[in-house]
Symmetry: C2
Subunit: 307 residues, 2 copies
DNA sequence: ACATACTATTTAGTAATACTAAATAATGGA
DNA sequence: TCCATTATTTAGTATTACTAAATAGTATGT
């Protein structure tokens, strides 16, 4: 790298400001010879003398004056830039931008939101609620929350929940009409309301669990949504059987609008994870959020797992 | 010096501008690992990630964007400052400011002035014509020309002339009236026109030479000037005997207005020197002037010493 | 999907640089 | 003149920067 052009200018500026090499050495926290040698090296690199020094005083040469007047303000600007950059990482104040799906919000973030906001009055949360898997960095997000099966391997991932229970469900009216499936293969004879991944642009596999093995089934996609709430909605309206996270359907199961079927075969989905690029690991706001989420996750497990 | 805060920023900025570590390495003239390590070290120092890098592309984190936007312009300013500073030393154009006495001008500079100006059309000369010995650097001069006996030891000195012949002289009318001294001690009985050093604020010794020895004499200072031309003027007007450089009085000696006395005792003064602070030794304009002056000095000696 | 071609990183070793302590030199003031 | 202070030189040491070689990761084309 052959010595950056600006190398040593800090020493020069400090000498001028302090008025002597010794004072500059004290300010910089080094011995006097270090300053002397650095200054000499700088003059050597620039090919011109900068400071006329006697043991009792210093004076700038013409070149020294030019450098001091031009580089001084620029150097201060750089110091300021560095300071601001540090603050991005160190600040306990600021805005944390997250990208997360509705399900992720409900299952992972919502339970701790109130406490987090109360504990961290300086941190604003900016939540982008979308189902697509976005490039969180390019879009200006600090982190995202997604299901574990869609994570990039180059992201740091923090598990936020246990595995997520799922449910096959339909309205009682539909089931009365079309019959209640006893085994997943019966689904092939049913109206199945499928979910299409918005980004991958393909219909999500239906996976069930039998004898401890995951098995894929592909019932006819008579009705497809790219949003989970659409699936639930259609199921409630009696259009067929949907497969969703249990938490998402829970309220309708409780009210009797939906009825669960095939429960022994309902496979758990991988947990939600918060993920972020390695380079954001020192953003203090993010660390605080993660602490909060993980604390909640661990308390959940102790008090009794929900999902 | 514990690593200047701005250290490594050049590497960071280059990476961002070039779009990859490898390209930055090429630009900086180092291997790829060097860049990688420097970037990592910078992130470590700032306590925050700056660039998210995969093998095919890079992206800035929020902190990286802050740093790039704030430090980029400041860094360019510093580069510019360094460039301007270099030019002070390297430029063959510009203004050279000299402090010199009238005698120095006549004896040392004037003979080469025309040639120097012709050879160096880019260099402007700014001459401060004063008898006082000024602090050339504090006053913004690059160099000065003075007699050898008043030089500070911390300046680089370049001899420009041989020893300077002096002359005791008076008007023929005065000498007819007061008599022609045969030996310096006769001066004690004469009106002597003395010279007072403007800076030192003391009357200059009269020194003569006898048997190879310098001897000081202190005739009554009936009439004192702080400018050599005053001494000459008064001598021409018949007010007494003056002591001056022979070159300064030459034209009046030739015209018969002045008549030399005590020539065997007239001591030569030390030569004129150009002097400048060590730190200006690389100012290219000054080197050119010195070359020109020294060339002339040596040609003078070969062709026949004048003084 | 697989190989290919690039790019980044790690590691270990080496070259270069920065710094210190101690001695020396220089300077302004009592 | 000496004293107090400051700068510089020198020699040695510690730190840092860099490279080469090996490894790992990723987008592109086939």
């Amino acid at each position: 790298m052959e010595r950056a052009p600006v190398h040593g200018i800090e020493v020069f500026l400090t000498i001028v400001q302090e008025g002597s090499l010794r004072a500059a050495a004290n300010v910089l926290g080094v011995g006097a010879p270090a300053v002397s040698l650095q200054l000499k090296a700088l003059e050597e690199r620039l090919g011109v003398g900068l400071i006329i020094r006697s043991t009792r005083s210093i004076e700038l040469t013409e070149a020294g004056r030019v450098l001091f007047e031009a580089a001084g303000p620029a150097y201060r600007d750089m110091i300021y830039a560095v300071k601001k950059t540090r603050e991005v990482g160190a600040s306990l104040n600021g805005t944390l931008r997250l990208s997360l799906s509705r399900g992720a919000y409900v299952a992972a973030l919502a339970p701790v939101l109130e406490r987090f906001q109360a504990d961290n009055p300086g941190i604003n949360l900016e939540l982008s609620w979308n189902e697509e898997l976005v490039d969180i960095n390019r879009e200006g997000f600090h982190a995202g929350i997604r299901l574990g099966d869609v994570l990039s391997p180059d992201m740091v991932a923090v598990r936020l929940t246990g595995p997520l229970a799922t449910v096959f469900s339909a309205s009682p009216g539909y089931l009365d009409r079309a019959g209640r499936p006893e085994h997943p293969r019966d689904l092939l004879e049913h109206n199945c309301i499928r979910y299409k991944l918005p980004t991958a642009n393909r219909i999500a596999d239906w996976v069930f669990c039998e004898d401890g093995q995951d098995k894929v089934i592909d019932p006819p996609a008579r009705l497809v949504f790219d949003h989970v709430l659409g699936v639930i909605q259609a199921a409630r309206e009696g259009h067929g059987i949907g497969w969703s996270m249990r938490a998402t359907a829970e309220e309708h199961l409780a009210s009797g609008e939906l009825e669960a079927v095939l429960d022994p075969y309902a496979r758990a989905l991988p947990p939600f994870y918060l993920y972020y690029p390695e380079q954001n690991k020192r953003v203090e706001c993010l660390r605080l959020l993660i602490d909060c989420l993980v604390t909640h996750r661990d308390r959940q497990r102790r008090d009794g797992p929900k999902s």
